[in-house]
């Protein structure tokens, strides 16, 4: 953050609330604990607990395989959780936990917050550890006798951990798009090279 931005931020934060008098009430410790479910890549937020690949396999078969496939390959249009490593430069990449996701924390966080689909926050913390361990195993990242714990969690590094970069459009692209545009005789007469397929548009659209 620039010193100017930092200064502006401090000024904003120093300003008193525009409304006089207190609005809202103190959040209680138990209330924060009930909703404070996020986990960061550094492990902040991880609950106590553990789970093994073996336990995860049984739970996965019962709660997950119907959508994500027995081996995390994904069924129908439901997402694949495994495979696809080395495909990110391919014509049709397969983006999975093993091939694309940068952080294991995201898998734990998202599974606990939103999975199984539409039964958010229905799993125990140990179950989430076990499922996380099993999905790591499906991606050949841990052996079958592995147990994931809060203590060893941050030692796991996903293959695509370095695959992301901050938004660089402002420097990589915008200068190319800031030239005053041509308005007369800009190109040779164009021809149509591709047309939308009528097959994919719902037929009552037009």
């Amino acid at each position: 953050m620039s010193s100017w931005a930092r200064l502006a931020l401090l000024v904003l934060l120093a300003a008193p609330p525009a409304a006089a008098g207190p609005v809202g009430r103190a959040a209680l410790r138990a209330e924060i604990a009930a909703w404070n479910i996020d986990i960061r890549p550094d492990g902040a937020g991880l609950p106590p607990g553990q789970g093994s690949v073996t336990d995860g396999e049984a739970l996965y078969a019962e709660a997950c395989a119907a959508c994500h496939g027995d081996f995390g390959e994904g069924l129908g249009r439901y997402p694949a959780l495994s495979g696809g490593q080395g495909t990110l430069k391919a014509d049709r990449p397969t983006k999975t936990v093993g091939s694309f996701w940068p952080h294991l924390s995201t898998l734990f966080d998202y599974t606990r917050r939103a999975m199984p689909a539409y039964q958010g926050q229905s799993l125990t913390d140990d179950q989430v550890y076990a499922l996380t361990a099993y999905i790591l195993n499906l991606n050949d990242l841990v052996p079958a006798d592995f147990t994931l714990t809060r203590q060893n969690f941050t030692t796991i590094r996903l293959p695509n951990a370095d695959g992301f970069r901050p938004d660089d459009r402002a420097t990589a692209e915008d200068p190319l798009f800031r030239a005053p545009p041509c308005r007369q005789d800009c190109r040779t007469a164009p021809r149509i090279t591709a047309r939308a397929s009528p097959d994919v548009t719902p037929d009552d659209a037009n």
Binding site: I32, D38, Q121, R178, R183, P190, I192
Partner: protein
């Protein structure tokens, strides 16, 4: 089968009626001022709406569009998603004008369906790096100073199915993951100030109360700038599908960060790497790396009529070209339109004075000579950024970045007035 169902036979009558209207307009013009010709029975015969009363004021306590407009509805594409619960539908841009989107037509993007939260059960929590963790009720939020602003909300994936070439033959489907609403609410910074943001805080986690517990990390500078906590849209309470009773408004940024059913704000010193900012809403480039935190929606425009759903049915002569332009970086400075696929461009007329990060309507009035057209629009925002072509974006990013496709759209108009989504070489 309801009136909104596209298979409803009433919709067929609507379409037939539309053609009849065109014929009547042509007939009327042919006889104008001559005193000769076949009289129009819609004039010479007493019509039922003139001969008798309509319904009373008790009939529609909350009004719906007239039945002849029953085809103006949100539509979804069944093959897009595994189910309709984590799915998207599309705003019928082809049927709208001006800039504000009617509440019932604002596209929906849900990850666990539409949560229904009784207002008395609503709570918002602020915690983390704050002096005073707080809980607010809806009533509490409504005691902060209130503001109203119009902003566009565009899904990061809008037009994303066109990365590999023209696919969807309709502006509702190519560009309809957008709406533009006048929001009333409170500045996020006022609510954060009430809790007292600690100096170490750099990021805000915003989380929804639905079964997806949708969550995104937002830089604190943006949170303190123009973000709002909104509880009204176009004057009335938020629609359930838009986050009732409270949603986050993040002007100019991709729709996913506009957390609906907002229940929790957590201040921290680093982003949280949530699923929706790692697995999703990251933009894979040709070299196999992916952009993350690509929040801003860049300058973009599209012609909404003519469009595949709006063929030219009136023949040669005066033709209104109507469209929308927008930029996540501020106001739209100008819009150019080409009739010949980009050889020559002329300035469109900006209608009204749209605010920053809001939809801007434009028009170009032409005299169509009946020849085929290759229509495009090109937006320029106040930063000087010129909307690029799809080819220019593909050269920079490849074909698999999925999101942030703001390339110029081409509609081919044939001699009969039919319109097709095409690309040019």
């Amino acid at each position: 089968m309801g009136a909104g169902d596209p298979k409803d036979p009433r919709r067929r009558r609507l379409l037939t009626g539309g053609l009849g209207l065109g014929a009547a307009l042509v007939a009327g013009r042919a006889g104008a001022g001559t005193g000769e010709g076949t009289p129009d029975p819609k004039i010479t015969e007493l019509q039922p709406w003139t001969a008798g009363p309509g319904v009373g004021v008790e009939a529609n306590p909350y009004g719906q569009p007239v039945r002849f407009e029953a085809g103006v509805v949100r539509r979804n594409v069944p093959w897009f998603s595994a189910d309709t619960i984590s799915a998207v539908n599309f705003t019928p841009l082809q049927a709208l004008d001006g800039t504000l989107t009617p509440n019932g037509l604002c596209f929906e993007r849900n990850h666990a369906g539409v949560a229904e939260i009784p207002p008395e059960d609503y709570r918002l929590m602020i915690h983390g790096l704050v002096e005073r963790p707080l809980v607010f009720t809806l009533g509490d939020l409504m005691r902060f100073p209130r503001e109203s602003h119009s902003y566009f909300l565009e899904c990061a994936a809008n037009t994303g199915m066109e990365w590999r070439g023209p696919q969807m033959n309709g502006v509702q489907f190519t560009h309809g993951m957008i709406h533009n609403v006048n929001y009333t609410g409170v500045r996020l910074r006022h609510v954060l100030q009430a809790a007292g943001v600690k100096p170490a805080a750099r990021w805000l986690l915003a989380e929804g109360a639905d079964a997806a517990a949708m969550s995104r990390s937002i830089p604190l500078e943006k949170a303190l700038d123009d973000c709002m906590i909104a509880f009204r849209m176009n004057g009335e309470a938020l629609r359930a599908e838009q986050g009732y009773p409270v949603r986050l408004v993040v002007p100019g940024w991709e729709g996913n960060v506009w957390i609906k059913w907002l229940r929790r704000l957590k201040l921290g010193d680093a982003p949280w790497a949530q699923r929706e900012e790692t697995s999703k809403y990251t933009d894979l480039l040709a070299d196999g790396t992916a952009r993350e935190m690509s929040f801003v929606m860049e300058a973009k425009s599209v012609i909404t009529s003519p469009a595949p759903e709006n063929p030219i049915t009136h023949g040669r002569g005066p033709l209104v070209i109507s469209g929308l332009a927008w930029s996540g970086r501020g106001r739209i400075a100008s819009v150019d339109v080409t009739l010949d696929g980009g050889v020559n461009w002329r300035a469109a007329r900006l209608d009204g004075a749209a605010g920053p990060k809001a939809l801007q309507r434009f028009y170009l009035d032409i005299d169509w000579d009946g020849r085929p057209l290759m229509l495009q629009s090109r937006a320029v925002d106040q930063t000087g950024y010129v909307q690029p072509t799809k080819e220019a974006l593909r050269k920079l990013r490849g074909l698999n970045s999925a999101y942030h496709m703001n390339g110029t759209q081409t509609w081919a108009v044939d001699r009969d007035g039919g319109v097709t989504n095409v690309e040019l070489g």
